[in-house]
Symmetry: C2
Subunit: 241 residues, 2 copies
């Protein structure tokens, strides 16, 4: 059957566009979002722009100051440390649920992804590594097959992980090799069908990844993340909020 999926609504398109611009670092944290400017960019009136911004606000990607001006949210160290145990807890639940029903084929799928990460890393293609990393976690989240869990995890990933994404991919660091090794441990536990071990390995993996990220990241005296624009992106000076 052909795919007759509806064309996305204006609001959805705007939402996705801005969302992507933020999560890829094109729009810097602290950058203002002015409805009139966006209106021109998208060639529509302000109504759909405003609705899209409301959704971004609900996602935590956009914040509003006391005078109702809108800015791209800038994460603080506290935001990240708060999220560590929550994401670790949810991902390990996903792993536990997945472990109870994962098939050999699905384990092979995970292994293939992990090999691909290794491959892209040696090729120096770090952006691709980050993407595949997400794919790895999405895969066993899919096996877990729990909508509420997916929603909860996506919410956290969406509101915080983009930072990790925008910085990791232009730094040749040690995060990726460590991740690959830890994925290997997780896969071993899956193969042994040791649910408890899977749970713990995933929990530790998430904690490690975020801890490593925190250690190599710069925050200012107020705890705000010091954003560095990836090469190849224009910088539009942004007021600090």
């Amino acid at each position: 059957m052909a795919d007759f999926s509806k064309p996305k609504s204006m609001v959805d398109q705007i939402y996705l566009s801005i969302s992507k611009a933020i999560t890829t670092g094109i729009l810097e944290p602290g950058c203002r979002l002015v409805e009139q400017d966006l209106q021109k960019d998208f060639g529509v009136s302000r109504a759909p722009i405003r609705e899209a911004i409301r959704l971004l606000e609900a996602d935590g990607l956009v914040v509003v100051d006391a005078y109702t001006k809108k800015y791209v949210r800038n994460l603080t160290r506290e935001d990240l440390t708060d999220n560590i145990p929550v994401l670790a807890c949810l991902e390990s639940l996903a792993a536990k649920l997945a472990a109870e029903k994962i098939t050999p084929e699905q384990i092979e799928e995970l292994e293939a992804i992990n090999r691909e990460i290794q491959h892209e890393f040696t090729a120096g293609n770090f952006a691709q590594c980050a993407a595949l990393n997400f794919a790895f976690h999405r895969t066993f989240l899919k096996v877990a097959d729990n909508k509420a869990l997916r929603r909860a995890i996506r919410s956290i990933v969406k509101s915080t992980m983009w930072l990790w994404l925008t910085t990791q991919y232009y730094k040749n660091n040690t995060i990726i090799p460590s991740s690959i090794a830890e994925h290997g441990l997780i896969l071993d536990a899956f193969k042994r069908k040791d649910t408890h071990l899977v749970e713990n390995q995933v929990k530790e993996h998430i904690e490690n990844v975020l801890d490593r990220f925190l250690k190599q990241s710069k925050f200012d005296t107020e705890g705000r993340y010091q954003f560095k624009m990836p090469p190849g992106h224009s910088v539009n000076a942004a007021p600090d909020i």
Copy 2:
């Protein structure tokens, strides 16, 4: 210092009103939300109404069909079963974090709430019991002091617990006494400073509460929850939300 908190914006007020109407059962699941009607109810134009509905949509309280009509979401059995392990996982994380830093005064606060639940139950005031139940959990969530965790739990409670609330408070069932007893076990574990035990007691408590709820609830053949309007509420009216 006086409280100069700004008056809430129109959108916030509308959002809160409709939100409350849904979570308390004044607006039934499956009920349509028509912008023109809401416009009249609130005496404003459609723009702020639409923005508020977008937020409700992001919360999962409102769904949109293929023809972009809006309805109050109706939960299915699957929604609830999916949410059980997630909420149990998050609440037990909250309990764990709280156990590490809770003070005797805060434990006393929790005990006071639990005694109050008992008191309201014997007085037959079940609605109040439900509210105090939420207060109990909110209290140690506050002690845990983790914004990300609060956000995640609130999201789940908001999108699903309203149902639990609306039904529990007009039924004289066994849920409340069991909850009170389990709260007692949790309090004992807090007093012993046994973090691990606290974690497990809370996890079991949440699982039990939701399981008991599922058992006494009616679902149609499609798995949709069979809504029953609490007494004292008119069915279609609603506007005073």
